[in-house]
């Protein structure tokens, strides 16, 4: 019973939050709603018994990614409303129809999911979720784990290089450089 109430509460809240993200005109509202939606999704992970995934979701998404977005927003003008003009109505409508077909295919996928069988049913009694995640991550998924580590290192270096290129000429010292085109 608890599970049913929690599932429906979290799903309604998540859908509302993500609806605000998609439809809101204010970038700051969209970002706050996205952070809320991420935390509600962590609630689903706790419901599903994936505690480590839920904690990682809160730490990485609501912590790191949202902090990064908030930091990036300081560069942009977020006080005025986001103005969006759509020129090509035909392209938009055909894309909507194509995505509707895609949604129908996704919705019919659970019918086929009844035939799936687990290749590696890997749950040992008396071993918790976090311990089990560690066991599997460092045996079966060791190479993807190392590749992900290298990828994160590469993205960290590229992020630092991209934003801090010529740090002495950034936007805070714009008075010395009248034209924005000359900054880069």
């Amino acid at each position: 019973m608890f599970e049913v109430i929690a599932f429906y509460t979290f799903s309604i809240l998540t859908i509302i939050m993500f609806g605000i993200v998609v439809l809101s005109k204010n970038a700051l509202y969209a970002m706050s709603a996205l952070a809320g939606g991420m935390i509600f999704i962590a609630g689903f992970f706790f419901l599903l018994g994936a505690e480590f995934l839920g904690v990682v979701q809160i730490v990485v998404y609501s912590g790191a990614v949202m902090a990064l977005y908030a930091f990036g927003m300081m560069f942009f003008d977020t006080t005025r409303d986001v103005k969006e003009n759509i020129h090509y109505k035909k392209v938009l409508y055909s894309l909507f129809i194509a995505s509707a077909i895609l949604i129908v295919i996704i919705m019919s996928a659970p019918i086929y999911s009844a035939n799936i069988e687990a290749f590696y049913p890997a749950v040992i009694d008396g071993v918790g979720n976090i311990q089990m995640v560690g066991l599997i991550l460092f045996t079966k998924y060791l190479i993807p784990f190392e590749l992900a580590a290298v990828m994160l290192l590469v993205s960290m270096i590229s992020g630092i290089l991209l934003v801090s290129k010529r740090m002495e000429m950034n936007l805070t010292e714009e008075d010395h450089y009248e034209e924005k085109g000359e900054i880069i």
Binding site: E3, M31, L53, V65
Partner: protein, 100 residues
């Protein structure tokens, strides 16, 4: 009782919200938000399948998706800040330099 189908349908609904955002938005920052929604919707599906089939592979894939999303944000936001410094706009149309 909540079954796997409930979670998969929820995942599909969130995915479609993200798709609408990707198609509707012209602001590049908002486009990033919509891609985050897409990735999170897929994560819910993976976690649900992993729970109902007692196979932790789904959770592993969700971890790697989170890692990919984090690095995507780092690089993408860096490029976006650079583009904003150069052109003063984060609009998708400002990327269009060729006629056609």
């Amino acid at each position: 009782m909540i079954t796997l189908t409930h979670y998969l349908v929820l995942s599909a609904i969130l995915f479609s919200i993200g798709l609408v955002g990707v198609m509707k938005r012209k602001n590049l920052l908002m486009l990033f938000f919509s891609t985050e929604i897409l990735l999170n919707a897929v994560n819910i599906g993976f976690a649900a399948v992993s729970h109902y089939y007692n196979d932790l592979s789904g959770q592993m894939f969700a971890f790697f998706i989170i890692a990919v999303a984090a690095s995507e944000i780092a690089v993408g936001l860096g490029l976006l800040v650079l583009w904003y410094k150069k052109t003063g706009s984060v609009d998708l149309d400002s990327l269009q330099t060729m006629k056609g």
